[in-house]
Amino acid sequence: MDAATKGAEVAHEEHHDEAHDQNYLQYEPGIWNWLTTKDHKKIGIMYAVSLALVFLVAGVLAIMVRTELVSQGETIMDADTYNQVFTMHGILMVFLFLVPSIPAILGNFVLPLQIGAKDVAFPRLNLASWYVYMIGAIMTCAALYFGGVDTGWTFYTPYSSSTGGGVIWMTSAIFVSGFASIFTGLNFIVTIHKMRAPGMTWNRLPLFVWGLYATSIVQVLATPVIGITMLLLILERTMGIGIFDPALGGDPVLFQHFFWFYSHPAVYIMILPAFGVLSELIATFSRQRIFGYRAIALSSVAIAMLGFLVWGHHMFVSGQSAISSIIFSLITYLIGIPSGIKVFNWVATMYRGSIWLQTPMLYALSFLFLFTIGGFTGIMVGVLAVDVHLHDTYYVVGHFHYVMMGGSVMALLGGMHYWWPKITGRMYNETLGKIAVFLIFVGFNATFFSQLVLGAKGMPRRYYDYVDRFEALHQISTYGSYVLALGLFIVLFYGVYSMFFGPKAPANPWAAATLEWTNVAALPDPHNFVRTPLVTRGPYDFHLADEVFGSGDGVGDGQAASLDVPEPAPAAPEPSEEAPQNA
């Protein structure tokens, strides 16, 4: 990985100019300084460590679920334990992992770097967000201690208002960790509006920033509703206020409306930043200006808005009126349009590009494949008549794993590999990276495609046991999940290894054109930029850097050594009167 020495030199020169050779990791070391840091990069890392832990725990729970289902009857746990295990898998993955994942880790680290800011707008709020999240995590542990939760991640009433155990703790944890999500979203919106470097117009924002912007809107608008829902559920259990529990005169369908009003948009909280990551990966590794920049940017916003109008498609069999089901179904189809626009634009970006198949790009390609399956199966369950057959079967489980794991997690992994050199200053092992992608891709499809088939054949979700004819497919799914887990453990292994023993990364190993690569040192300065950059071109204008890129023939194509990197943006004039202001 000794490409792009030029970028490193540039960064180096800048460094010596300033005569303070420091990077953000050396700056203010020590555990106390970390715990009180307001540096968005360090907060991103703190989130990364916490979320990796949650992902590990929730992943182990998933393996337990799959192992239980490898054969009929009791395999490794009894039915009650099984209920708790799949419930905790769902809750941890959705509320404590996927919702914060990309925004809190990569968003925190990369967003200010990409827009040329020194930090997010509210650094203290950012730190508070991590603490609130941790309080939520501790309350989750409390929920386990006080008897666990077996309601499924959806907490449907009346079961959730009557079953014993730690439901109150769990719902409180979700209420609390919702604030972490709101803080992050609010912070990002203000940051994107107010903190952009001179010349960083809305049309020059990297698409990852657009993705985060759309995500943040959803976080700010949807999360308060799950907050009040969880609060009402807690009051239902403690005081019997009778809003949701039919035994007290309440309406359980109202709970479902409230729940999905958040939880459907929450799906977009998980996938929109993944779209953003993907745009970065595809453009950089195709060495090509992104096709349809505005279409990709605005389709994210369109999805964010439409996402608020489709929650009823989770409730086709709940007894809501037929007319609302039809309307929700129609609007659900509409979501397919902006999603399709994105996929076509990404493919068009790759067309005639110089595709460089590094690990991040392999994740991006996996994403395209898996997310497309997730999207199409999503349209199918959005069809009223088909959904009545598929509702609450493994088909739905397969569908949302294709979107959540095949979409969100793949993009997160791709993004982590892509920004790894910037975060740690080290390169990971490319060969192991490629092996891991392969295992993850194959394992994933074995695990979840078999579940699509199972569901279509009628296997209901959340069941502890099954009849003979499902056994073969369940076994394929379980063995697939082991391959998947193996792939993920390889990533964990070489990731940790590279932090200590990986070769030092240059400032711009991928020859990318966005600010975090062109204008930031290999390991960023504690204040990001030594000089605030003046942005003069779009984020993917590789062609405007022709003199450094050559005419583009054959650049990339796996020949790392031949890569030239785009020049850094010039520094913003310091006392300038006419410096463009952020509107």
């Binding site: 009402l232 009051l235 409230f258 300038s576 952020n582």
Partner: protein, 242 residues
Amino acid sequence: MATDTTTDTPAAPAQTEVDLHDEEHLSHLQHHFVSSEQQFDSAKLGMWLFLITEVLLFSGMFVAYAVFRQWHPETFAAASQTLDWQLGGLNTVVLLASSFTIALAIHFIQKGEAMKSFWLQVGTIALAGVFLVVKYFEYTSKFEHGVFPGAMFDPHGVAHGVDYGALASYAYAPQFFSIYFVMTGIHGFHVVVGMILIGWIASRTYRGHFSSEYYTHIELSGLYWHLVDLVWIFLFPLLYLV
């Protein structure tokens, strides 16, 4: 007026230094902002976004209200009768007055008259206190007659011409009072938070932390307080009058 600005040209954001280790930072300017104006605008935008989340928090409860009212209009009409519209109206006036005092507090700090602003903030807290006292009497008069939220609902007795016992014959009366207590309770919680918030900025105003150059916290607390007021403006007619 605290004037530690170094230049007296109008505050064009671009004129402050972009450089990192600038010794001439204004005392209140955080390092990652380019100018006070940028800092103020960011804080204000952040506050507005927070207020949006507040509106959505309450909107959940308003939806619950609308749904149950739609299903059981006669219960809601009868139950609404037992709330004292005069006390509710008094509280409406009190809160409106408190919004006025906090708006004046912002006005005076903008003119640099910190002590006037301080006393108006104290006045706002006092009015908020009046609101809570009235609310306390309303709550206790309900509890005395067994009007509790949800499962403990057991209405009895007659007071001030209101027949609480008659509520027992309405099927979904507990839901009305659940909604009433939850909505006004969460609103009351916001009032308490507002009092603490304004108490904090009042003490800072008294110590001279704010000036016509820098009054972000007062402005933002004012915005928050207006929202608390506004929510009540919706709660009062929906619960007491219709």
